[in-house]
């Protein structure tokens, strides 16, 4: 067995300095790579990103740091980290590396259609057919994951969380994901009441079944001979639940990994939806379309008390019927909400402009750190993917974007997009 050859990152820096634009090359093909003494696998080639700047979303930003990847996952991040000599090194000394952007609710590239009523059994899973042109736009904007929602009003169905690129079998992150609920109090309440009736119906059927079992027991005991095997008890077969209401039954019964995303168009919608939530305690987060004119400031304090997770648009809004500008995003964040941001509309242009709008929010008085988390880590948390996405930390997926400047600098743009350790998109920038 050969001894493992290790080189320091500092030494490597010396070797690759002056490489110009992004240069990808393999250093060595060693027959044995030792990290923890394990024999190597062919697919466990290490990839090392040597970045000029790393925005980890977990602690301080790192200057001239190294991200070690293998198997599409981040294995280590920091400065002066040792890595195997045969690792593939990506020189990104003139890049800022940050986690890929995540949109927690969109229908970009998908056709709209009319649907009303309750369709809890529907999902956007059958709709992941974003046209390639739009997909390029999304990648160009720096997005690595999207939650695609079904169209319609009422309860149109469940979302699906997908990567924007990468291997087909790794494309789907969550399916089905959250239940989309548009601001229609009566549809929402009626659906939950129907689900409650379904639960009661099943409970009643179970009680009747058990009662019947109790009644049958003495007779079966009498009939069975001593020593013989007792007749196997037939298991209770619950009556079928109305499929569109199954997910609502799950919500009422507090099943894990399912929540409702309640959309709000104005402050009143929050009051109306909260009225339903006082009767039905279900897992939920919010999407508030704050828009250019919004009265949501009325409910900032109440939602802050609730520690709500809320998706907002990166806009400085105006108080209705006035010229007063309000920074709703900051207000929600300071009140105690965990804020995620989504583009203003489902157009490629707004996707491209997202970082610019986020920069505007920072310029108007919001912390840069919070703003960057609101497009990466917070949406990942909201979608239940914060163990895998949203920050550059050990054991997270290597879904990263490489910018040629600060993400909030209007001159900077996303140059490369990496999904699961592979560069899947390069921006064509004239030199």
């Amino acid at each position: 067995m050969k001894r493992a050859t290790k080189r320091s990152a500092a030494a490597d820096d010396e070797a690759t300095k002056g490489g110009g634009a992004l240069v990808v090359f393999a250093l060595l093909f060693a027959s044995v790579v030792v990290l923890g003494g394990e024999p190597p696998q062919d697919d466990e080639r290490f990839v090392v990103i040597k970045a000029g700047r790393i925005i980890t979303n977990a602690g301080k930003e790192i200057r001239d740091g190294v991200i070690v990847l293998s198997g599409g996952k981040i294995r280590n991040v920091g400065t002066g980290i040792e890595y195997p000599v045969n690792a593939q090194v990506i020189d990104a000394h003139n890049r800022t590396v940050m986690p890929g952007l995540i949109d927690p609710s969109t229908r970009i590239g998908l056709p709209g259609y009319q649907r009303t009523g309750v369709h809890g059994d529907w999902s956007a899973a059958s709709e992941d057919f974003i046209p390639p042109v739009v997909r390029e736009d999304i990648l160009d904007a720096g997005y690595t994951a999207l939650a695609l929602v079904p169209a319609g009003v009422g309860i149109p169905g469940r979302a699906i969380v997908v990567r924007t690129a990468g291997p087909t079998d790794e494309r789907v992150l969550v399916s089905p994901a959250y239940l989309r609920v548009t601001p229609d109090k009566r549809v929402f309440r009626d659906a939950l009441e129907k689900a409650q009736q379904e639960i009661e119906r099943i409970d009643k059927a179970r009680q009747e079944f058990e009662k019947k079992q109790q009644e049958q027991k003495p007779s079966t005991q009498a009939a069975s001979q001593p020593g013989s095997q007792p007749a196997s008890q037939p298991a209770f077969q619950p009556p079928a639940i109305d499929p569109p209401h199954q997910v609502l039954v799950d919500l009422i019964q507090k099943k894990p990994d399912v929540f409702a995303l309640l959309e709000l168009n104005n402050a009143s919608d929050y009051v109306q939806m909260s009225d339903v939530l006082t009767k039905f305690d279900i897992a939920h987060h919010f999407l508030a379309r704050n828009g250019w004119e919004s009265d949501l400031s009325y409910v900032v304090a109440r939602m802050g008390e609730e520690k709500a997770q809320i998706i907002l648009q990166p806009i400085i809004s105006r108080v209705p019927a006035s010229v007063e500008r309000i920074h709703l995003v900051r207000m929600f964040a300071q009140a105690g909400c965990e804020v995620s941001l989504t583009p203003v509309s489902d157009s490629p242009r707004e996707f491209r402009e997202l970082l610019g709008r986020v920069a505007n929010l920072v310029r108007e008085g919001w912390s840069r750190e919070a703003a960057l988390k609101a497009v990466t880590l917070n949406p990942a948390h909201l979608l239940g993917l914060d163990k895998r996405l949203g920050s550059i930390e050990k054991d997270k997926d290597a879904d990263l974007i490489f910018l040629d400047g600060d993400p909030l600098d209007p001159r900077a743009r996303v140059r490369e997009v990496m999904i699961l350790g592979e560069i899947v998109h390069r921006a064509e920038v004239p030199e």
Partner: protein, 473 residues
């Protein structure tokens, strides 16, 4: 809520001892919450108002159900102190405190001890009125199921609150302007049975009469059966399978469980509906009634209630050999004939465009125009408070300031019927729903409530006073 209620009685008030406490049978909420003045005596506090003992039980049950969850939480107190209180059903009281607990007035008097965690609205030097009631309204609440469809932070509701309105008709329900809240919004669902008795549709009129006759016959047979069933075993109750939908509504009308509402404008329509109401003995509210002054005694005798607009303008019909057309005296003449009046503006909605002063924002000014037509100030005020509540059938809960009524108040900086008066606070269900200083609507207009007309030295149109460039050099 106990059934026993103490009322504000004029006898009590004349003595100057105006504080009325809860009767001893009510659960004590702690010594601090008890007003210092004790009720004068049970005999003196016997009900003298129009509130009948047999009020529909529906309102009573609503009260209990809505206050039950609040009772579990901490009690909520709000006091309006130091104001000049217009009780409407009683006298005007100087420097008194109105104390409310969980949205219901519990004490009203000069020496009320406030509980420790009481929200206080200082009305010193201001006028306190019961919340205004819009007997006809649209656009403030959602049209159907107001508790589910209302934009509780909507600009319409805010503007209406700024006009002092606390209760309004919402579709066919009576609902409060609970800004930012949905609980305790609906005061009375299904306020009216809508009737169409237009002179232009003789067939529909005939149908309505036939339907009413059928229901009346049924009710008489039912009565007969109730009488006979004790003695006669063969007695059978009348067939009632058909008694649903419109017939059920008519049954409620004839048994006084509901009141009818109809649009009736001219002399003929008004006289015909009054005749119908008298013939079948049901309560009816007529809307419009601009020729009501021509048949006022008939309407008064038939017990018709009217929703009128003093400023409504209709030319007289020159061909008719009788008095026709509208007059600003309409409200006064109807009131003199004993018709219970509610006054509404020409546009019974909130319009944020168009002609100023003709929508619900100026409900008080419309009442002032009735004063111009000869109505007394007191009756004009009644027509937008207690009488409007009677027209809507909610006078057991709102419309005047009395102990055990809902804490819906308007605090304004002058006489409510004066054109310069602006609302300072509007309180709905014991919560401040509108505060002039906090909302951008009128905060800048006479912020200290001064009653002088501002003089401007510049010409119309007035320019906003922007600092000119170079002034700071």
């Amino acid at each position: 809520m106990t059934a026993l209620r103490v009322f504000l009685v004029s006898v009590v008030l004349l003595t100057g001892a105006v504080a009325l406490a809860q009767p001893a049978s009510q659960p004590a909420t702690g010594p601090a919450t008890q007003p210092v003045m004790q009720p004068v005596s049970q005999s003196a506090s016997a009900p003298t108002t129009t509130r009948a003992a047999g009020q529909p039980t529906t309102t009573a049950t609503t009260t209990t159900t809505t206050t039950t969850p609040a009772a579990k939480e901490k009690d909520r107190f709000l006091a309006v102190i130091g104001g000049r209180v217009h009780t409407v059903t009683g006298p005007v009281l100087e420097h008194v405190t109105v104390l409310s607990k969980n949205g219901v007035i519990t004490a009203l008097g000069p020496e009320v001890v406030l509980p420790p965690d009481c929200e206080v609205v200082d009305a010193t030097g201001l006028e306190v009125y019961p919340g205004l009631i819009a007997a006809l309204a649209g656009g403030i609440h959602g049209a159907t199921h107001p508790q589910d469809t209302t934009n509780v932070y909507g600009l319409n509701m805010l503007v209406a609150l700024a006009g002092g309105i606390t209760t309004a008709l919402a579709g066919n329900d009576v609902a409060k302007l609970t800004f930012g809240r949905v609980e305790d919004m609906v005061l009375k669902p299904a306020a009216y049975v809508s009737l169409n008795y237009s002179t232009h549709k003789p067939l529909e009129r005939a149908q309505l009469r036939a339907d009413l006759e059928r229901v009346r016959t049924y009710l008489r047979e039912l009565q007969k059966y109730e009488r006979e069933k004790a003695t006669n075993k063969d007695a059978k109750p009348p067939e009632k399978d058909w008694l649903k939908e419109k017939y059920e509504n008519y049954r409620k009308l004839l048994t006084h469980e509901a009141i009818a509402a109809t649009g009736a404008q001219d002399t003929h329509e008004l006289r015909d509906i009054a005749d119908l109401a008298a013939a079948y003995d049901f309560g009816v509210v007529v809307r419009g009634a601009y020729e009501g002054w021509t048949v006022a005694p008939i309407l008064g005798r038939a017990g018709v209630r009217a929703v009128v607009t003093p400023r409504e303008d209709h030319e007289p019909d020159e061909r008719a050999n009788r008095p026709t057309g509208s007059t600003i005296e309409n409200a006064r003449i109807l009131r003199d004939a004993g018709v219970i009046l509610a006054i509404v503006p020409q546009t019974a909605t909130v319009t944020l465009w168009g002609l100023a002063g003709r929508d619900l924002l100026q409900l008080n000014l419309e009442a002032a125009f009735a004063v111009r037509g000869g109505l007394s100030n007191e009756d004009a005020l009644r027509a937008i408070t207690i009488d409007a509540a009677r027209v809507l059938g909610v006078d057991d809960r709102v419309g005047s300031l009395e102990v055990d009524k809902d804490a819906d108040l308007v605090v304004c900086d002058g006489d409510l019927l004066h054109y310069m008066t602006l609302v300072r606070y509007t309180i709905v269900n014991g919560r401040v729903a509108y505060d002039k200083a906090q909302e951008s609507l009128y905060a800048h207009i006479r912020p200290t409530g001064e009653r002088t007309v501002p003089q401007f030295d510049d010409q119309w149109p007035r320019r906003l006073e922007w600092p000119r460039l170079g002034d700071d050099k």
